[in-house]
């Protein structure tokens, strides 16, 4: 049984595949539509779609000609929650650090730099 999360990560490791997923968050699309922003052959795009499909990140419709792709969210949720954990912790911290650095800069201006030779 392959490690699902690892296949999610390797699918996400490629910028073209991430761009395809980002496009699919706004709704399903055909292969031609997905290929449009890239300077890439259709077979190359199809290979990327196969990787995403194997990782369970997208599903493809049955219609013979059109076969629209759509995003499947569940494998992304684990990755997203991993990222969200860090984002939540650091977002507030860094906004506070922004403000704190302004204070530190003011203090230095007023009293001069400490411990400088």
């Amino acid at each position: 049984m392959p490690d699902r999360l690892s296949s999610t990560f390797s699918a996400l490791a490629d910028p073209t595949r991430r761009a395809i997923l980002a496009r699919l968050t706004s709704g399903e699309a055909s292969v031609t539509e997905l290929a449009a922003p890239f300077e890439m052959s259709m077979p190359a795009i199809s290979r990327h779609l196969k990787v995403l499909e194997r990782a369970g990140l997208i599903a493809r419709g049955r219609e013979a000609q059109w076969r629209p792709c759509r995003l499947k969210a569940s494998p992304l949720k684990d990755v997203a929650s991993w990222v969200a954990h860090y984002r939540r912790f650091w977002e507030d911290n860094f906004e506070r650090l922004d403000r704190y650095l302004i204070e530190l800069k003011k203090k230095e201006k007023k009293y001069g730099r400490k411990n400088q030779k």
Binding site: L5, P15, V83, A84, Y86, F94, Y100
Partner: protein, 167 residues
């Protein structure tokens, strides 16, 4: 597509490999000052507090290779949290490598902080490396499930930002 406010636009969180998280953020201050704010126990409890409601009553730092650090937080509801590690490399004001663990089942990660200064602005990059896929999975199981409510818009933003950055 990336974000609405100046501050949140500056924060990126990416997963370049399946064992790494990379956080970057720019600050309007020289890196000497950012490094100081990151490593001096006089400064850290002013900002490294996580989400609202927490204070940081414990902040012990022995800033040298092999030196230990220990941070402790307390929430107004009585909940407590702590994090410990050991410094491996200390190169002010540009690089800091340390181990980090939240205790319990949480695996020990190796965190590499680098600070780059340009025109008085400092961009920090924090690379958090999990020792193995198993450790990463354990971390996911232990404490991150609550983060599952991440909105789809947020995810779209993140993927878009990742795609832009890498293309």
């Amino acid at each position: 597509m990336v974000a609405k406010t100046k501050n949140s636009a500056a924060l990126t969180v990416t997963t370049p490999t399946d064992r790494e998280i990379v956080i970057t953020r720019a600050f309007d201050a020289p890196r000497r000052l950012v490094f100081e704010a990151y490593t001096n126990p006089e400064h850290l409890p002013h900002w490294m507090l996580g989400p609202q409601g927490w204070t940081m009553p414990v902040c012990e730092i022995d800033l040298r290779p092999g030196g230990a650090w220990h941070f402790g937080w307390r929430h107004s509801n009585g909940q407590q949290m702590e994090m410990r590690g050991v410094y491996r490399e200390v190169t002010p004001p540009e690089r800091l490598v340390s181990t980090e663990s939240w205790g319990g089942d949480w695996p020990e990660t190796v965190n590499t902080l680098t600070l780059a200064e340009e025109n008085g602005q400092t961009t920090i990059t924090c690379r958090i490396l999990y020792p193995s896929k198993e450790a990463r999975d354990a971390a996911l199981k232990t404490g991150m499930k609550e983060g599952m409510a991440l909105s789809f818009n947020r995810l779209a933003e993140r993927l878009g930002a990742m795609a832009q950055r890498q293309s």
